[in-house]
Symmetry: C3
Subunit: 362 residues, 3 copies
């Protein structure tokens, strides 16, 4: 009944990626840790009994032409030149355009967006992380801080950025209140000496300033929602909390990232709000049932609102696994849901929705 479709030749637009960085893993446990969102070394032995990790090892071993066990894959990795290893996995994804977060890895600690394009053999563009901009602006007065955030964002499109991004979910949650300039100013001095934004009113003011500065010809703004690493307080990252912001900045495209396990909530937002989009980055490649996530995503949301992304960082295998498993999940699910329209939907999700949303031509 369901047609089989081939999406392998569709060039991907990965609208949410990071530079690879960090030293190669020094132990097998460190290697395992790269395939999880856990910063806790006590978790890494457990990664070896993860469904996704076991599957990854098999896929990677096949690609690398080594024995299908973690030790063999790990050794192959150590034995290969890092750039060559990275480049080979990046190129195998069939990505034609990478949009790269300019805040993680922290500037200077890993390849920037230009270098990522070189490694992947494709075009690339930067995404401006609002909190990175704000933390860079902590060395002046509070008024200068606000002015600098506004200026950086207002000139972002002109300077080649194709989107903005906020990590509010990883700091204080998505229950973002109306700005409170007095509370923000109170928190400013502590933030300036710590060189880090953590106080809720200060984060919210910076975000609000940025969104206002972005209003005239708005760039899409990416927000994490749902799972990620242990910085998150899950009860405050349900995508539905963004409603007041979405309605206040009604012409700004909002792009929800990750979304698991609140994929259905994200799908509802993408169903009712004309300017809300979402992806399943991180969810794919991390969950063991990517097809189940895609099915839930398309229960309410039109396929013109769902975007491919990897959210890969730190280790090159994740770019490859994300691309493989997204393609596989879409090739499984779209024919079930859409019959003959499956290929149209696949192209939209993997490539065209992002090209249109971020005005990337093509």
């Amino acid at each position: 009944m369901a047609a089989v479709i081939d999406l392998s030749s569709v060039g991907l637009v990965d609208h949410h990626a990071h530079g690879i960085f960090g030293q190669p893993p020094r132990t097998l446990d460190e290697f395992r840790g790269l395939f999880s969102e856990s910063p806790d070394p006590r978790q890494w032995p457990h990664v070896a009994s993860g469904v996704t990790y076991r599957r990854a090892i098999k896929v990677l071993a096949e690609t690398l032409g080594c024995d299908p066990d973690e030790q063999a894959v790990y050794e192959r990795r150590l034995a290969t030149d890092q750039d060559e290893y990275a480049s080979s996995f990046l190129r195998s994804t069939g990505t034609e355009l990478l949009l790269v977060d300019d805040g993680y890895p922290p500037p200077g600690t890993g390849p920037d967006w230009r270098r990522m394009g070189e490694l992947a053999g494709c075009e690339s563009r930067p995404i401006m992380r609002i909190e990175r901009v704000a933390e860079d602006a902590l060395d002046g007065t509070f008024a200068e801080f606000r002015e600098r955030v506004r200026e950086e964002v207002a000139s972002a499109r002109r300077r080649g950025f194709v989107g903005l991004k906020s990590i509010a979910a990883y700091r204080t949650g998505l229950d973002i209140a109306q700005p409170d300039p007095v509370g923000a100013e109170d928190a400013f001095r502590a933030a300036a000496s710590a060189k880090r934004l953590e106080a809720k009113p200060l984060l919210e003011l910076a975000l609000w300033d940025a969104l206002e500065a972005n209003e005239p010809d708005p760039l899409p703004v990416q927000f994490h929602a749902g799972f990620g690493d242990s910085d998150l307080f899950l009860p405050r990252v349900q995508p539905g909390y963004l409603k007041p912001l979405i309605e206040r900045f009604e012409d700004t495209p909002f792009v929800l990232l990750h979304c698991y396990p609140y994929v259905r909530e994200a799908g509802w937002l993408a169903h009712v709000y004309g300017r809300v989009f979402f992806d399943l980055s991180l969810t794919i490649p991390h969950v063991s049932r990517p097809a189940a996530a895609v099915r839930e995503a398309l229960e309410l949301a039109p396929f013109s609102k769902l975007l491919y992304a990897s959210d890969a960082a730190r280790t090159p295998e994740l770019y490859f696994l994300a691309a493989s498993w997204w393609r596989e999940a879409l090739a499984t699910v779209l024919p079930e849901l859409l019959g003959d329209d499956a290929e149209e939907a696949g192209r939209a999700i993997l490539r065209e929705n992002a090209r249109q949303l971020y005005r990337l031509g093509g």
Copy 2:
């Protein structure tokens, strides 16, 4: 293994429907918009890439005998007399009894419950919307307001109403606090001049008054839970928030409407509370996988607690799609779950549970 069952001849009791109203769509985009919960015209072009919409077009084209594309369906609609068009879809559902919300469409702007019965060729009964009653009562003093809400509700059964309904989820959420008469009175003047209840304490007092007035021989009270249009703040419409109300009014039957994506939570409430019932209206026909919703609904809840409803409004195709897809989902899922008992369960969900709950005879 799973028996095939035929539920096509079971006469439906649709316990939660609305009058059709509004002008025919003036553009294809307006037509698309009718098949979503989005009031945002920028969303309507996206509706064309919705899984459910694409499926709907095929089903409608087959029923209408036209080409299987949206333009053909849209044109057929425009070319047909509105009442005839509506009546034909309504009659095709096999509905034997319609319970119609008396607050939407607003009285006088569309067909009332009697007219809906005529169009559908079946019996019909009215459901009293508590907020409609309260907003009608804003033209006197605060004391008169309270008195009128109480009187209308207390006499509702005698005057032919078979249930009550609250739209608290669409206004301030399901975290309904103990009544605060002072706060409510403070908000009363503003509500009276706006002719609209929006202040949380006033809404809550009206609701509490209504539930108290309903206590002696309680009518079932319907509450939205979960998704709907963009008025909703999703983090406050989880059905679990109703616990204090359910326990305070322990003899009142509560009927949770929609429930997606919190279907499992609703199922738990229907499992632990003797007087809690629920439906998957709006969920079916809007989600692209109705069978998945039914499966989750019946994970914990007995089938004697789940009720068929369409929540259809505005456009007649939705009554037909809801009925078709509910029947289809039940015919798929019930044999998987219940084997030889599937048909008993199907009849209960489509017809008998509602007849018993609302004391409709038959």
Copy 3:
């Protein structure tokens, strides 16, 4: 593709069970009620139309060798000696070790952990319920109360307890605040006269004291999360609320119990935190689709973090149903997810993870 595995010979470690207690059911409706989490007699007739109940009756009838209807099963139960009936079902589970909550049934009202081991024909160990200890300590001064909780917990391992347990989810929720000794002391007198802990600050202080006393060589601490009986306020039992506690007591193993419908959230916690484990007790045997719950559990969590448990209490059939349906669900799902590694995962979940976590040898 998926290998068929046989887990029937794996001896179970049930890390979360209770004593059976109470009189035999006096009516068929009381019998039905034993198969639900509802204390509401008005719910019990509905239990007869529950998917899980209907399935249970078939399985029980087959085991008992009687007609496959509830009346026959009920009569068989009444006709059999209670201990013999219990023992026969307990022994049929293939359990080799039972960890038994010492707070429910309340001490003296049912068989304790030793007697449960005798009935089941296996080893058993006690789990200390923190709130039971605290309620036993309400007869002195506030300072004595705190001291006693600390002492009981600090000496628990020495006295043979293998774990701790908190029922915070059933009292005030998992949004457990920093301790407030002043607020707790204010609430102490009322708690002492009621012989029951209900005030949030007092519960939280007792819990915090217990967790601190447990720190030197921490026993695993079990917390309910997700569904249970109607004492729960579902919006405050999402497992994600435990984040501050998990991070504060970073060396303490936390074990999340039940988890439905927040299985995916629990899986995320078990993915990012090295010391978080979880089970699907109560979920299995109560939900009608155990395999779906297992699939969601293993989307993010390694199989080394998931533990078998029944949470059975009150009626012996539940121990048997939990064991049967867990085995069946694992035998279905693990080969799908893990291919040749399915049996390793099955043994880990049913037996070895608990043996390691609770230091049970074997």
